[in-house]
Symmetry: C2
Subunit: 348 residues, 2 copies
DNA sequence: TTGAAAGCGCTAACAC
DNA sequence: GTGTTAGCGCTTTCAA
């Protein structure tokens, strides 16, 4: 493998200094803390920069400052999942928008073959490719977090990753959304309400919010909570489809389903159609309130999921942690419930 | 803004060299071109690396090598578009998978406020944040490409960006797909076939492929080509929706529509439903053949769009260009047509 | 197969 | 407000 070499020697800060007849440090000052330079000096330097078409070498600055001004967004689930999950894209978008406004670059990293993503996060950080990372929770992440802490490396997690985690996370609490959704369904007369819950394995220390909201609302209404009405799915269309089919097979009197994610919601709708039922026979509550879902199925009520804001807040937090050099208290974002075209329960 | 400083001094290659009782260069060799080191020497070095928990500083290596081992993926359309367009995500995923396997990091950059994305691409490259960029075509890109060429910077474009471009692009030719789709529709008896074309402004030098395939098939069958059956849309749901409505209003005898993208396809389907028509009344051909579309609307035939492969090839090309230090001939990927559940034309 | 020494381009002390 | 100098951590040329 031959290596590409720039044909012309690079224009450096020294060239600019020479042309402007000032010292390198002054050029550096103009480039950075501009207010400490006399106005005419700055003019000369700017003119020289312009004339030479000079561009500061970010790598050299990074080496000296021990700062890459880059954030890593690391996802441990295979790129096929990451780039196809609309919620993750929303989180990524939120992070991108914040960190790029704050003057950081964003490196995105997902394992092409699933394993080792967490090691990749460590590597990126320890090699100084990034100043800090945003991590998506997954099995084994608590161990990696310990490494980060021991080595004093910077991270933020998109959810709670170990017992009693107090710092460096931005999580979403689905309790209010699922509580309100369930309560509303009950008020319409629904008694057999299914819950396509999120997967336990993804979130080890925050897994019961959807279930808790659902359970509270049922209990308040004096309705028995049937464990067989709750199924776990991995957020994907496929599991939404399968779990809905088995749910309806076991509970032919089901009148409503609450889904943990929008892709699962699509699977649920398809399953309902494939069973020869009408979408009006079973009231479906979507899980994320994504724009696309509103367009595809405008009649669907939905639990909201502030993914964009979560990503944004995580970006803000990692930047603050990097700048301040210390851990910061975690943040919990809340969910809501949006009603659209719901009707009283239909007997089948 | 205070600056974060590592509490402990960094472990360097010199520390490893000292512990292993070898020279820094030998450690460097172990880290890189491993085969030029005696086996027992390597063992000692590896042991020292392990013991000191040493991690090479990628920034320092980058400075010395004048290589960041990073690729930029730059999109000039606002992050709201980028992260929500499934095709772009597929392209990004393809690029990610290739470059990360090839040992490069991937920086993704989209303007938070639309303008200046192209300048951002130049900046990233000239500042040495990246060794090269992948650029999405857009208005004004031909000027930026000239800058890249003049300055001998590395780039690949996802489509042809200027007249007579021969190198450094990976484009998709939709002609075969739209030809086959149109021909098949004709064979089923369709005569009034709408085309929701892609937007002219996105692709200045490659804009007629969809139209050409469509036109050829019609002409071969001796069917008059009516310009009013062709509408331009910007790939989004909204334009698919609006253009379909106006198309049907003007052509009540329309029996089929070919869409340039899957999001437009969703808009088309919703428009058809909102007009009180059944999805079986108008044969819809999807534009991208995305997995999600197959799940949502399994009955839809589709033109294929090799977005993932396009991104992957672009990743491969930019890596090769960086390694070889010269431009490389452009690549054109082809489209196909997938038939699913099509029926002879229905009279309305 | 290994080592000594120079230097990539920038910034931070410290002096003036 | 400005300049001098050292050095961030690595790789590379050349010699041994």
């Amino acid at each position: 493998m031959s290596t590409f070499v720039y044909s012309k020697p690079m224009t450096t800060l020294y060239d600019v200094a020479k042309l402007a007849k000032v010292s390198p440090k002054t050029v550096s000052r103009v480039l950075n803390e501009s207010h400490l330079v006399a106005d005419d000096t700055r003019q000369r330097v700017m003119a020289a920069i312009e004339k030479l078409d000079y561009h500061p070498n970010a790598i050299a600055a990074s080496l000296k400052r021990n700062r890459s001004n880059t954030i890593g967004f690391v996802v441990p689930y295979g790129s096929d999942f990451v780039f196809q999950d609309p919620n993750m894209m929303e989180q990524l978008r939120g992070t991108h928008d914040y960190v790029s406004t704050a003057g950081f670059e964003l490196i995105i990293s997902a394992p092409v073959h699933k394993k080792d993503a967490l090691q990749e996060a460590l590597r990126l950080t320890q090699n100084r490719n990034v100043d800090g990372v945003i991590l998506y929770p997954s099995f084994g992440i608590d161990q990696i977090i310990k490494d980060f802490q021991t080595k004093n490396l910077r991270y933020v997690t998109l959810g709670i990753c170990y017992d009693q985690q107090k710092n460096n996370f931005v999580e979403v609490d689905q309790t209010p959304g699922s509580y309100l959704a369930t309560k509303y369904l009950i008020s319409l007369g629904h008694r057999r309400i299914g819950l396509l819950n999120k997967p336990y394995s993804f979130f080890m220390f925050n897994r019961d919010d959807l279930l808790n909201g659902y359970t509270s609302a049922l209990q308040e209404a004096g309705i028995e909570v049937q464990p067989s009405l709750v199924r776990e799915g991995d957020f994907t269309f496929e599991e939404g489809y399968e779990k809905t089919k088995s749910l309806i097979a076991e509970h032919p009197d089901l009148t409503a389903v609450i889904c943990a994610s929008d892709p699962m919601t699509y699977g649920t709708i398809r399953a309902i159609q494939d069973l020869g039922l009408n979408i009006n026979d079973i009231q479906v509550v979507a899980g994320d309130n994504l724009p696309l879902t509103q367009k595809l199925f405008p009649q669907l009520s939905s639990i909201t999921n502030p993914s964009y804001e979560q990503g944004r807040q995580a970006g803000k937090m990692i930047v603050a942690i990097i700048n301040e050099g210390r851990e910061l208290p975690g943040i919990t974002l809340n969910t809501e419930f949006v009603v659209r075209n719901m009707r009283p329960v239909v007997k089948r």
